[in-house]
Symmetry: C2
Subunit: 332 residues, 2 copies
């Protein structure tokens, strides 16, 4: 029985889409239990719109909400009765196996580390979203949890990313590469140059060398290792270039009558093709290396993303990812 | 009279496309002189295919070629009779105002600094390509010349980028932003945090604060300041995501008969729209802050890009960009 605490109040479409996604996940997997954490009345009002097995979903009251713009450390410390702090405490106390939130990234990162805590031996817990590629999906690790990382952190990211890709995504012997500005070993900044030989010497990963950013969307590696600043730039630029280009394609198609007719004809095929480049189907970004599982879904997540993020937690738990991380990196 | 030395031997399509682009530029602007530098026989064979004013184009013999994979420092030092070294010496000796090459980036960066030399007062010469956005074009500075930059370098990048955007691209009072992982001033890694107040205090730029990578393709700023590693990642990911998405759009359109017919109808409008997102129309990337002008065009440049890069040099010279950089940053 896997138990997941969902932050009903975090995200642009909370609580409506958070509740809807949780109901979908419960209906999809009769073997899971979900705790919707947030303002009881609001959550119950949303829940009443759906049909579901009452034994699978409970509502846990939390009167406060952490807003996106609040300074994270302060918010986690002061808002003891916020949906986020209450849910994270459930993970800490073993009342839940995992926590899913579309709320403030900063608060999730701080709360995950401070309340749930790191596995002993893990130096820094990386935020590791899956990003779509031509060939499927890669994990981008780290993507915002720790700026100014050290080489030893990056090696651990590579190890945790490999475990995740192998056992959650199902890619055997995942190819690990470090983001670099050239393919040769002598290229790079000080961090990359120091990290490269450590990755090369690391026995439990399949290190294939450097990857240039150009090759990431082509699926050049399964585990894309970088420090958080670069990872954040990659993740956000992926979104930005994608949105801009697709917006221009749509605009171009609507520019005259001839192409409007053409657009009607190409639309279904195009939609099918581009679906594979849509990150939402892959769920949220796990914060790896914590004693429990914490998953951050995109702030604008709707029911599909929330549903997928919950199912992702189930796979994570079933595949005993934390046990594997502990075996590989732990010092207890 | 503006004189431009063109590396006839560098790039994937050299010498053919380099020569063709040079001829186009000469025919476009009767007031310029071009020196095609490279293996005389090969260059003359290409030149014989075109009609042009013989007074405008001369061939300067250089028997060696620097290959892309050669270690740059070594190549520049040893291959004294390479097209690149010969052409850079022409700039140094005042026989040419500018140098355009589609050859090895590393060799251009090293050669530019070592042979042409920096303007006194410029700490590091940044490589600054123009990147397309929804609204037009922005300059991305630095993009590969210097890794592990210091805050003072980034401030100079902002100043030089502003001068370029204002006088070469024609954007009045260009908006300068620093690439960051959040919009707030307190966000960022150590370099960004140190640089932010310096940019804020810099009187001769229009600093608007941080820019997240997501906003770059939307045209959120005119001068995008970052250190070279991040700039390189942005530039290459731009290419990679763009190529992957457009490839997928094309593939999607060819997937069944219905959409193939539609594709024929949308094609002209789509082509028109996407042309504005095509970097090649903007010419190459200048290496700013040198005593002469050095422009790196993409390795796969064809005649259009070469032509545009040469015209860009003309604008650079006419607008007296180096004089403006010297007045703003110079210490002589």
């Amino acid at each position: 029985m896997i138990r997941i605490a969902v932050d009903a109040m975090g995200g642009d479409y909370a609580p409506g889409e958070m509740v809807a996604g949780a109901v979908d996940a419960a209906n999809d997997r009769p073997d899971i239990r979900i705790a919707l954490v947030g303002r009881q009345e609001e959550v119950l009002a949303e829940l009443s719109k759906f049909t579901y097995n009452k034994e699978q979903i409970e509502v846990v009251n939390a009167t406060e909400v952490i807003a996106t713009e609040e300074p994270p450390v302060n918010a986690i410390r002061k808002k003891k009765d916020s949906s986020m702090v209450v849910a994270l405490n459930m993970v800490k106390n073993g009342e839940a196996d995992a926590f899913v939130s579309a709320g403030s990234s900063g608060a999730i990162l701080v709360g995950g580390q401070v309340i749930v805590g790191r596995i002993k031996g893990v130096e820094r817990p990386p935020l590791a979203p899956l990003i779509p590629t031509e060939k499927g999906v890669s994990i981008l690790i780290d993507c915002g949890a720790n700026v100014d990382a050290r080489p030893s952190h990056l090696v651990q990211f590579a190890q945790m990313g490999s475990i995740y890709m192998e056992h959650v995504v199902g890619i055997k012997n995942p190819r690990v590469a470090i983001v670099n500005i050239g393919a040769e070993e002598e290229k790079g900044n000080a961090l990359v140059k120091e990290t490269f030989p450590l990755l090369k010497a690391c026995p439990d990963i399949n290190f294939i060398g450097s990857i240039e950013a150009r090759e990431i969307p082509h699926g050049g590696a399964d585990v894309i290792v970088c420090e958080a600043f670069v990872g954040n730039v990659i993740l956000k630029l992926y979104e930005g270039v994608g949105a801009t280009l697709l917006g221009m394609v749509k605009k171009g198609m609507m520019s005259d009558l001839r192409s409007k007719i053409g657009a009607l004809l190409v639309k279904p095929a195009l939609k099918r093709t581009l679906k594979s480049f849509d990150a939402s189907q892959y769920g949220g970004a796990p914060l790896l290396g914590l004693k429990g599982l914490v998953v951050k879904t995109h702030g604008n997540s709707k029911r599909l993303e929330v549903h997928n993020s919950i199912i992702q937690c189930v796979t994570f738990k079933e595949q005993q990812i934390n046990e594997k991380i502990r075996a590989s990196l732990g010092t207890e």
